[in-house]
């Protein structure tokens, strides 16, 4: 008898809570996935398709649906780290098959060789190539994302990827080369020896 009561009580509780959860599930139903937008913002937007998806947004969609996070070659380790952070998963090394050196590059058309076939224009995901049929084409370097997609369709192999040259604008400080040192405290004249204090204890209000 007591077993029956126990079963009934537990069963009743289960039913009640089940109904509650069922109601909550309807009430708090989640629509849409803001994650895709956030992932898309992290991707480098080269639209290169090296991940196997036609652009960055589709890959973001795929990641949200459980695709591996380590397929973005242009983004490299940094992007993977950010995605891992957002997704709350572990950082994975860049997928071998997608690995490449990701120094920033831009495409360059060797203009003497260009036959004006417009194939690269059709391939460019960001409309960074101008030209018309039978006219020589050229690349707007500022708009080029360095995605590589125009290289393959070119029938005469006149497009090459050149690394972006370093200028004083995009130069980064190099810790090893630059070594300005502060002057050595042992090596100064006695005149100023009363000035060695290194804080602000001096009188300010005269």
């Amino acid at each position: 008898m007591s077993i029956l009561i126990a079963i009934l009580v537990l069963g009743g509780m289960c039913l009640f809570f089940g109904a509650l959860l069922g109601y909550a599930a309807v009430k708090f139903k989640v629509e849409g996935d803001p994650l895709v937008e956030q992932l898309d913002a992290l991707l480098p937007q080269t639209q290169c398709g090296q991940c196997g998806y036609p652009g960055c947004k589709p890959y973001a969609q795929a990641i949200a649906n459980g695709e591996a996070i380590n397929k973005c070659a242009p983004g490299g380790e940094d992007t993977i780290k950010k995605i891992a952070n957002l997704m709350g998963v572990d950082v994975q090394p860049l997928d071998e098959s997608h690995a490449q050196d990701n120094t920033p590059k831009v495409a360059f058309i060797i203009e003497e060789d260009c036959i004006g076939c417009t194939k690269c224009i059709q391939a460019c995901p960001v409309d960074a190539i101008i030209g018309a049929a039978k006219q020589m084409h050229t690349i707007i370097a500022d708009e080029c994302t360095g995605c590589d997609l125009c290289v393959a369709p070119c029938p005469v192999d006149c497009i090459k990827m050149i690394p972006i040259a370093q200028t004083t604008h995009n130069w980064q400080w190099d810790l090893n080369r630059i070594n300005v040192k502060t002057i050595d405290a042992d090596d100064y004249s006695n005149k100023q020896s009363n000035n060695v204090k290194t804080n602000t204890t001096e009188e300010v209000n005269v």
């Binding site: 007591s2 009561i5 126990a6 009580v9 537990l10 509780m13 289960c14 809570f17 509650l20 959860l21 909550a24 599930a25 708090f28 139903k29 989640v30 996935d33 803001p34 994650l35 956030q38 957002l86 997704m87 709350g88 998963v89």
Partner: protein, 194 residues
């Protein structure tokens, strides 16, 4: 009233669930690598613990005890906790998709967080009344949140500090936790009852 306040302070500091009673160490180590996540986890756990201690009191006192089914206590409490966690998960998913993702597996794992069941069972053993149960649950959660957030802040600093090689990662985290525990021992005797 003073009793309630004493109970609250005592649960938060003196009998801290994590550092003194060593309950709920799993999320304490698991979700403390980033402060943001830790704060989210704190809120979720606070919610779950308070509601769970309330519900478990009700279930025990109005269903199990009258029917003499005390031996079903653990089972019933786990059921209650699981429901509350499920409910919380839905709410979190709805309100903050990001938090939902960063909490990841630890959100459903609140179910198996021994601190939650601990609160429910201790409430019964210490024969707390309804309000005491709620305050005890809330205080335990507050104590848990306090140390979790403090610990995560420390771990964030540790992440970029030059920790000696053999101590990198979980090793230094555990040492830090140990030191925090020592520090919390200092609260013993904070409250003196006449």
């Amino acid at each position: 009233m003073v009793d309630y306040l004493l109970l609250l302070v005592g649960t938060v500091l003196v009998n801290n669930f994590v550092l003194v009673k060593f309950l709920g160490l799993c999320p304490f180590m698991g979700v403390s690598s980033r402060t943001e996540t830790a704060i989210g986890m704190s809120f979720a756990t606070t919610f779950v613990m308070t509601i769970a201690s309330l519900l478990s009191y009700l279930v025990n006192n109005y269903i199990l005890a009258p029917l003499g089914l005390d031996y079903l206590m653990t089972m019933a409490f786990i059921l209650v906790i699981a429901v509350v966690v499920q409910f919380t998960e839905m709410v979190v998913h709805k309100t903050s998709a990001n938090l939902y993702r960063t909490l990841g597996i630890f959100l459903p794992l609140i179910t198996t967080n021994c601190a939650v069941l601990g609160v429910a069972l201790l409430n019964i053993y210490q024969q707390h009344n309804f309000f005491e149960s709620i305050i005890y649950g809330f205080g335990a959660a507050l104590g848990f949140s306090l140390v979790l957030i403090m610990f995560s802040a420390m771990r964030e600093k540790l992440a970029s500090a030059d920790v000696p090689m053999p101590f990198k990662g979980p090793a230094i985290a555990l040492i830090t936790a140990g030191l925090m525990s020592l520090a919390f021992m200092g609260f013993t005797g904070l409250i003196k009852l006449q």
